[in-house]
């Protein structure tokens, strides 16, 4: 890689051991992906819940946090993805004191590095929305795909160590989705059935993701007559990234790099479209169906809920009572939780027997241990991303609309 003078100085250790480690790590990754040089980034977003950090990761962060201030502070706005635990709700979810202790240590270490503890995977809705052409080092696949596709910003999937490195160095290796050449559409899907709700939008992400199945492919979806809203694209993108490892999509007429179909493919030949119809949606839902089964836990998460989704949940659940054999969990960002508290939405949801957790996103929160401690197995959600990922933690997931999820939570079984 071509290094600028400042990058050489960091590599030589002139700016302390944290920045030296960071630039070394970034060079190893950059060379693996044939990056020609570094590009300055405007923000970094770190996925670093304690379940994935573990004791080893937290101890490593604490070492960085003990360095002198000028050597340890990040140099660009650096924010965090959901945490492993919410201190206000962890006891109700039967998470342990050991988990809370590790979480507190990780937070203290990040704060010493100058990281803003936003604890959110919807920062593009709530913190500092990315701008077209802005280079970023974002973690969380749902955040990256939304920022790249809907906002036209430029980020690869940056894992925790790489996003933290970018925070420390203010740059990232220029490869993948930082480069124009990688942003052209490579696959073409034509929608013949418009998704009706968030579960449908997630299902569409799952259908396109399964068919695309590569970080390096860029699906283009045509056939939409009107623009989806931010929550719909959030569920679509999160599922597409989860099922397919996809980091960028184009919807001609909707997303900024694709005013037309020709633009989506950067003027290259447009491939024949694979149609997606109602039967594809039906088959997707059928793959997770479990009608009549007792439901142990209903989860609204992955991604965290916007204020509008919080209002929808509260509107559907108000005046009802969740079945005593079923738990209902809603996760959102700390900012949205504060607003939901202020507007009475939290009170409505918790008054019906639900739990509103802030700064977490369920699956990053020791999901296996929660399942064992609470005796949960059958999980119902309107998040296609969650049904894709949670089976590995020992759950049996079912996908349904928000309305059906809440009706099932009240009935105690899948209706």
């Amino acid at each position: 890689m071509q290094l600028a003078d400042e990058e050489k100085a960091m590599l030589a250790g002139a700016q302390g051991p944290a920045r030296q480690w960071a630039i070394k790590h970034q060079i190893a990754v950059g060379e693996f992906f044939d990056a020609p040089d570094f590009v300055a980034v405007g923000q970094a977003h770190i996925m670093a819940d304690t379940e994935s950090l573990g004791e080893a990761g937290v101890a490593w962060l604490e070492e960085l946090a003990r360095l002198p201030e000028q050597h340890r502070r990040v140099r660009i706005p650096t924010i965090t993805d959901p945490r492993g635990l919410d201190f206000d709700s962890y006891k109700r979810l039967r998470q342990t004191e050991a988990m809370a202790g590790l979480e507190a240590r990780a937070i203290a270490a990040f704060e010493a590095l100058g990281v803003l503890m936003t604890n959110t995977c919807i920062n593009y809705q709530t913190i500092l929305p990315p701008v077209r052409g802005e280079h970023l080092a974002f973690g969380d696949t749902g955040v990256v795909i939304y920022s790249n596709s809907v906002m036209g910003a430029r980020s690869n999937f940056e894992g925790g160590p790489s996003a933290l490195s970018a925070g420390l160095t203010g740059r990232t290796p220029r490869y993948g989705y930082h480069l124009d050449a990688h942003r052209a559409g490579t696959r073409h899907f034509e929608l013949r059935h418009r998704p009706r709700d968030l579960a449908d939008w997630g299902a569409l992400g799952g259908i396109v993701g399964k068919a695309t199945n590569s970080y390096w492919e860029v699906p283009v979806v045509t056939g939409l007559s009107a623009a989806p809203n931010s929550d719909e694209l959030k569920h679509f993108g999160a599922a597409l990234a989860s099922f397919g490892s996809v980091a960028l999509f184009h919807i001609p007429g909707v997303t900024p790099e694709a005013p037309t179909v020709a633009d989506a493919f950067q003027g290259r030949a447009v491939p024949a479209a694979a149609p997606i119809g109602k039967s594809d949606f039906d088959a997707f839902f059928a793959g997770y169906a479990a009608g009549g089964d007792k439901v142990d836990v209903v989860v609204f998460a992955a991604p965290q809920l916007s204020l509008v989704e919080m209002q929808q949940v509260a509107g559907l659940i108000g005046g009802k009572r969740i079945h005593p054999g079923t738990s209902l969990i809603v996760t959102t960002s700390p900012e949205i939780k504060f607003a939901a508290d202020r507007m009475g939405l939290t009170k409505t949801i918790e008054g019906a027997g639900g739990i509103v957790a802030a700064g977490v996103c369920f699956y990053q929160s020791y999901a296996r241990e929660m399942a064992e401690a609470n005796g949960w197995q059958r999980l119902l959600t309107n998040s296609a991303k969650l049904v894709n990922i949670i089976a590995g933690y020992g759950y049996k997931p079912t996908l349904a609309t928000m309305e059906k999820c809440i009706d099932s939570a009240v009935a105690g079984k899948i209706v």
Binding site: H25, A28, V29, E31, F32, F33, M47, A48, D49, E51, S52, L53, G54, E55, A56, G57, W60, D81, G139, D140, T141, N156, F157, E158, G159, G160, P161, S162, G176, N213, S214, Y215, W216, A241, S242, F243, G244, S245, Q364, R368, N388, I389, A391, G392, Y393, G394
Partner: protein
């Protein structure tokens, strides 16, 4: 003559070990029981198999940014695979391998390594040279 496969230069030290192969993908967070060292997602082709000390040979890395931390955490507990060979990795697993100093290579000249390497093969991976040698076959 052992079979020599040419790949892109990779990450981590030269290692030798036994292959565990599947025409399937990989996420440390969603596919594994990291406490027991086994594949735990029922739909995975290696479901129930132990990955400890094996060289995993898989097609692509799947979503889940957490995997970048997890390889190092698994290595620290002695509960990690010895190396991972992909047909094509995503950014997360490459970053995770760099952080964990675990051996990882991908992009083979001869095609998909899950079709070239068999479970039980003895492999030598030389990331700096971009070479994987199948020691037990010719």
């Amino acid at each position: 003559m052992p079979i020599v496969l040419k790949c892109h230069t990779g990450i981590g030290p030269t290692v030798t070990g036994t292959a565990l192969v599947a025409a399937d993908n990989f996420s440390a967070r969603y596919d594994l029981n990291r406490l027991q060292g086994t594949f735990s997602r029922p739909a995975h082709k290696l479901y129930g198999e132990s990955y400890l000390d094996r060289i995993l040979v898989l097609q692509t890395a799947k979503g889940g940014v957490a995997s970048a931390w997890m390889l190092r955490e698994m290595t620290a507990r002695g509960m990690a695979p010895k190396a991972i060979i992909f047909d094509r990795t995503n950014t997360i697993l490459a970053q995770g391998a760099a952080f964990a100093e675990m051996t990882m290579v991908d992009r083979f000249e001869q095609g998909d390594p899950t079709a070239l390497i068999r479970t039980g093969d003895e492999l030598k991976i030389e990331p700096d040279k971009g070479l994987v040698t199948i020691l037990n076959r010719d």
